[in-house]
Symmetry: C2
Subunit: 337 residues, 2 copies
DNA sequence: CTGAAAGCGCTAACAA
DNA sequence: TTGTTAGCGCTTTCAG
């Protein structure tokens, strides 16, 4: 173990007081050039690094921002994370990452933990916002932004894309391609706000096109591959063969496609499949996935930028940043007309 | 802003000294039950959380472990990370993540940064170990482990799988399936240790089976999808149509498969393709990828466990943990015999 | 078993 | 411009 060298050592070696040293490292106050140089010299020689812990303790600034995510290994989350990280680095913040596995209990724990760790702000990715958490964060007085699909009803800083509108558009797009019997496989559970909004979008599109709503075409699940596979398989096993399936997540959509393959059908010739998010694999997979593209990276970047502004006490005009989505038409949806 | 409540407040409210409060939160010394309860009561009421910064400052333990990775969004890295995180959480450590984009310069910076942040140990994932970095870490006296494919020559704590043996085995496996003209697409650049080891494995397998080595079948690249696609495309465009392609990374392998598709060939009927790593998508993709499976999660877990042992001053018998790999035979390789 | 006091490494008044 | 000093919130001797 190496003895760690402190500000005192530097001061002694340079023959000045510790405050002077402090001043040169932060250049917070003027210091004579000559002395400054001498101190810098010593710092270089000794390889001294200020202890950020001690510094944080007094300044109450940790240069840490807490990021809570439902699941790091989810590619969707991953791409948002890239945006978050980039901006954090740009402003010299470090990130404390907390994985909640979409567990509400764990989410609260993470929040607590992060607060304890003295983070200066929080970015939270959560499909479904919980009143309790919002309250918790607001009580803590910490600057925070949410990346979510269901933040509309809260008076908080959010970045999102319009979930309902996107669902509507994709459904409408599918109908436009001549599909009528459209399975709707959600990557969210029953009775959540997310589900309600999506279902509303789906139903509205149906209604607009005079197609009757058929509940047996609806499935609830999760974002991962297996969930999509299972749900589609259940449909097929039940003898329900849709013309198209709209799965609200790309990984799950690919799962669905594989289930279709395994049941002996072709995609898109027999059944078209559309996804949501436009994650990397959407382009890697064959057939390339038709999906709703969201500016994932940007969402992360914007959210992070917002908390930093909040930390710095800058004003933000608009609490809700709604980023644009778009339909990306690739190979997994066929034109039936 | 809420006034944060400190140990002093708790002490006053409970009518005891701060040392007593400290004792009950750490239960480091015996405290009368009655008093203990009173203090606990106050803590609950006030929602007091000890400031870890202050604590770390005196104990010199940050409960932080630095993890430096080449690229978080790489699925390979991601799965290792899961193992790392799980173990960290188990032992109550937090993780400070640093992304280097495989840049040697950045790697050194990250290391410095982490050290400054007072991490107690380091886990580093790096394909190619650099003498400088190893030296840096060793000088810092920080407990560290490396997850790497090329750590053999250093006297450091490493977890890895045998790169050369795995390459040999897969090549041999391909040959066993009746392939002779086997393209070898590496996800590493020319003139790296990694490349040399892999090439050695490949050549040895060829030699063992009396197949002549053909340099025009060899390509160098990177781990990502695009790189695999490009390399395969170049081969095909040059009129070189192998019977099989061994790509030393799954994402790149899928890229290669797509290049083959786009050129109008079938996989595996026309060209077999094998990958390396057995990342999640290897099973999601169709045809399912034949690949070398490495216990990614375990590698992360083992590495993390090692640093923690190191931090705790426990002895570790073996500096090199070499984890087993295995050939996973799925659908992307056909039997030609 | 409990309290007083020192001190972790640093910043920020306050004097000089 | 510089040094002295008082903390930041906590743990840990050291007395009692």
């Amino acid at each position: 173990m190496k003895k760690t060298i402190t500000i005192k050592d530097v001061a002694k070696l340079a023959g000045v007081s510790i405050s002077t040293v402090s001043r040169v490292i932060n250049d917070s106050k003027p210091v004579t050039d000559e002395i400054k140089e001498r101190v810098l010299e010593v710092i270089k020689e000794t390889g001294y690094i200020p202890n950020p812990l001690a510094r944080s303790l007094v300044t109450k600034k940790s240069q840490l921002i807490g990021v809570v995510v439902p699941e790091v290994s989810d590619t969707f989350v991953n791409e948002i994370l890239n945006g978050i990280e980039e901006v954090a680095k740009m402003y010299d913040y470090d990130i404390l990452l907390s994985n909640t596995y979409s567990d509400k209990e764990q989410e609260l724990k993470s929040l607590n933990l992060l607060r304890a760790k003295q983070v200066e702000g929080i970015v939270m990715i959560s499909w479904i916002l919980d009143e309790k958490h919002v309250e918790f964060i607001q009580n803590s007085g910490l600057p925070a932004t949410y990346i979510s699909k269901t933040a509309r009803d809260f008076d908080i800083y959010t970045v999102s894309t319009s979930n309902e509108a996107a669902t509507f558009d994709m459904t409408d797009h599918l109908i436009g391609k001549g599909h009528k019997k459209i399975a709707f496989i959600m990557t969210s559970k029953h009775e959540t706000i997310l589900e309600m909004e999506r279902l509303a979008g789906y139903k509205d599109a149906l209604a607009k096109n005079n197609i009757e709503y058929d509940p047996s075409l609806i499935k609830y699940g999760e974002t991962h591959y297996e969930s999509g596979y299972e749900n589609m398989k259940e449909l097929l096993d039940a003898g329900i063969i849709p013309e198209a399936a709209f799965v609200t997540g790309d990984e799950a959509a690919i799962g669905a496609i594989n289930a279709i393959f395994d049941a002996g059908y072709r995609v898109p010739e027999d059944i078209s499949v559309a996804g949501f998010n436009d994650v990397k694999i959407a382009q890697m997979y064959r057939p390339k996935l038709t999906t709703v593209s969201q500016p994932l990276y940007d969402m992360g970047a914007v959210a992070m930028r917002m908390v930093i502004k909040l930390i710095d006490g800058e004003k933000i005009e608009e609490k809700k940043a709604e980023l644009p989505y778009k339909i990306v038409d690739r190979e997994s949806v066929i034109d039936r007309k």
